[in-house]
């Protein structure tokens, strides 16, 4: 539970020195409570008070970063059980398993898929972010070679997997600068893994056989000074792993369990031998609280649906996804093709462009920036009206692309047709269907 401004104020020096940038300690406390200030801005706070405040202001689920640079993956940091309560913060990472006993050609093709399987959607690049390198050979030199190969050829973040700490150390020799995740620390090797993690400033994943044991192990790791921890409850049945994810999330958020306040790692790849079923299992953990999801392989037909599902569920419910303003050419339109205009709410765009494609009528689709609002909402808010649509139509360049000057507006914006004819001299405004499903019939009947 975050402290209130007054509670924070009690721990401050109360000297009102003003060096933090605001005139009084009370004002500073209020800023701290709302996240507008950093505790480090106060030069006089006692170490004791600092420790106390830092602990209470720590997020209930610690954000953990795997990797370095732009492509580093941040997981954890979640604050709610249900996305409509606020939002899900950091989407889970997908990892592909690569073993040091795999044929070299198989390793190469997997690394290649990691790079190739990226998709553009609503202006975002959807891609997997992790390679889990597994020691199956028991040979440190072999493992080290593979880690080196992954590091050289790939831009993904790394998970080092071995039950033997010496082999993990061999892998770390090559890629410690990449801040890989070490897996697993268990009851037999906890101290050794803690030392490796601290020496290399790497996150470490704890594996237990029960949730009870998991809390004990993370408590020990925390005591020894390791901060960045990922949790594996050890469950390898769908039901148990599902329940563990829920209990871990809820214990951290609702019971303030510090020892479970970390992101998780799940292994659909160890729950079935069927890659298709594995994908559906993974989809459960995208929705229900997986932090890192380790898959046996990446294939386009399974990775793409998972990436889209993840994009959807991790969309901020308060900030709808928007599509870029502009002219979208669908099906190779020419100077006699119809011109439609709609809002830039991404869902509107997907539905309208999908229906246009289904109609097989080549069409220009104009997307007007409505700040991500749908047609009706943006019309009501004055963002999709004659005054804003007309300047966009004039400057977007469509005038020179078609011979006819007929603009089809959404049925729900019919009230703007008069205003648009005034604002767009020379254009004829046609009122199209209200619902996307009626677009194909409308377009098929359309004549320039």
């Amino acid at each position: 539970m975050p402290l209130t401004g007054i509670e924070i104020f009690k721990s401050l020096p109360k000297t009102n020195c003003g060096e933090c940038g605001v005139p009084t300690c009370l004002a500073f406390a209020m800023n701290l409570a709302t996240g507008k200030a950093e505790l480090s801005a106060c030069p006089y706070i006692s170490d004791e008070a600092k420790a106390k405040l830092e602990e209470s202001s720590a997020p209930p689920i610690r954000p953990v970063i795997i990797g370095v640079g732009d492509r580093a993956l941040k997981v954890g940091g979640e604050t709610v059980m249900f996305r409509h309560e606020k939002r899900f913060e950091n989407h889970p990472g997908f990892a592909i398993l690569i073993s040091d006993t795999m044929e070299e050609s198989e390793v190469d093709s997997r690394l290649d898929r990691c790079k190739q399987l990226q998709y553009q959607r609503v202006g975002l690049t959807l891609r997997p972010e992790l390679v889990a390198i597994k020691d199956d050979s028991g040979d440190a030199a072999k493992f080290e070679d593979l880690v080196n190969k992954v590091k050289q050829s790939n831009q993904c973040n790394i998970i080092l997997m071995s039950s033997n700490p010496d082999i993990l150390a061999a892998g770390l020799k090559v890629c410690a600068d990449q801040k890989p995740l070490l897996y697993p620390a268990d009851k037999n090797n906890l101290d050794r893994l803690a030392d490796l993690a601290k020496a290399n400033s790497c996150p470490v994943a704890v594996k237990a056989s029960t949730l009870e044991e998991l809390t004990q192990l993370t408590a020990k790791l925390t005591e020894s000074g390791v901060k960045d921890i990922v949790l594996d409850s050890g469950a390898r049945t769908v039901r148990q792993a599902f329940e563990d994810q829920i209990i871990i999330r809820s214990a951290a958020l609702n019971k303030k369990s510090h020892s479970l306040g970390f992101p998780t790692i799940v292994f659909p790849c160890e729950m079935t031998n069927d890659p298709i079923k594995e994908t559906v299992i993974a989809s459960v953990f995208v929705a229900k609280y997986g932090g890192i999801i380790v898959l046996s392989d990446f294939q386009g037909h399974s990775l793409f649906p998972l990436l889209v599902e993840r994009l959807n569920l991790y969309t901020d419910p308060q900030r709808p996804l928007a599509t870029t303003e502009g002219i979208y050419e669908i099906g190779g339109p020419d100077e006699n093709s119809p011109v439609l205009i709609t809002s830039n709410f991404s869902l509107t765009y997907f539905i309208v462009s999908g229906e246009i494609e289904a109609s097989k009528v080549p069409t220009y689709l104009l997307i007007k920036d409505t700040e991500g609002l749908s047609v009706m909402t943006s019309w009501a808010a004055g963002k999709f009206v004659a005054d804003t649509i007309a300047p966009f139509v004039k400057k977007c360049g469509i005038t020179d692309m078609v011979k006819h000057h007929k603009l089809i507006i959404p049925g729900y914006a019919a009230a703007e047709s008069g205003g648009l004819e005034e604002e767009l001299p020379g254009w004829q405004i046609l009122v199209g269907p209200r619902e996307g499903t009626h677009i194909p019939a409308y377009l098929k009947a359309w004549k320039p």
Partner: protein, 315 residues
Amino acid sequence: MALEIPKTSYSGKIREIRLGKGDKSITVGGETAYPFYLFEGGIPNLPKIAMEVYDSPPEEWPEAALEPFAGVTDDPVAWAKKCINDYGAEIICLQLISTDPNGLDRGADEAAEVVKRVADAIDIPLIVWGCSNEEKDTEVLRKVSEVCQGKNLIIGPVGEGDHKKIGASAIGYHHTVIASTPIDVNLAKQLNILLGNLGVPDDSLIMDTTVSSIGYGIEYCYSVMERARMAGLTQQDEKLQFPVICNIGKEVWKAKEVKIAEKEDPKLGDARKRGILMEAISAMILLLAGADVLIMRHPEAIKLVQEMIAELTAE
């Protein structure tokens, strides 16, 4: 320090409703906890999957979706029987696509006659889904109610605009009503109240809060379903304590991403597997949000989801 397992405090229960008639009727609903939260409460009736049958041959389906039904797509009775005999369907959903005024615009009598033939040929529950045009659905579904009197069909979509006429005939001829609203928990509640006021019994109503595929706004549907379930189970909102039905198959298989051939875009992989997975994943996350009945298309997607239901409830 012993681990304290957190528990949600539930104060409500989803109503149980019976679909269909006789030995093969199916009860859904009855949950006392969030979907598959078995450590917190019960799921007396597992979610069920209905298989789609169309009343006219589908035109825009990708090959992967047509192949399992080769030879029967022009005969709804044969199609329904194939679903039962070859794919083990427990519920059939007859989609009355032919009645759409923007399409074939088939009349009410003819459509109802097809429904009657299918209803007479099968002994499992039958869902009858109209074309979502309120005027036309009113005409067609009232006729369907009449000619299938007493069969306890599950008919819809019934929206605010057509709820009185369709609702009244469903009450009169003893069918279950699908209360359909556009992705809004308050509208869903309001329609349930209206139907209740009209006289639709609480055990003859199932909600459709509207669904879409992954990639097409499923997050909105997901959150509305979660909110409805939360209100019903933890906030004693009796008017949201109804089971939920999701007509998801047709949404997924109309998405452009299930139609793109692998050679057109190799990064999307095998088109057939991709379509099956998009349907299975869409259905799976709707189950996690509270679906009690899923209407699905591809037998392999259905099998995957059934296996997941079994795994999530395994002893």
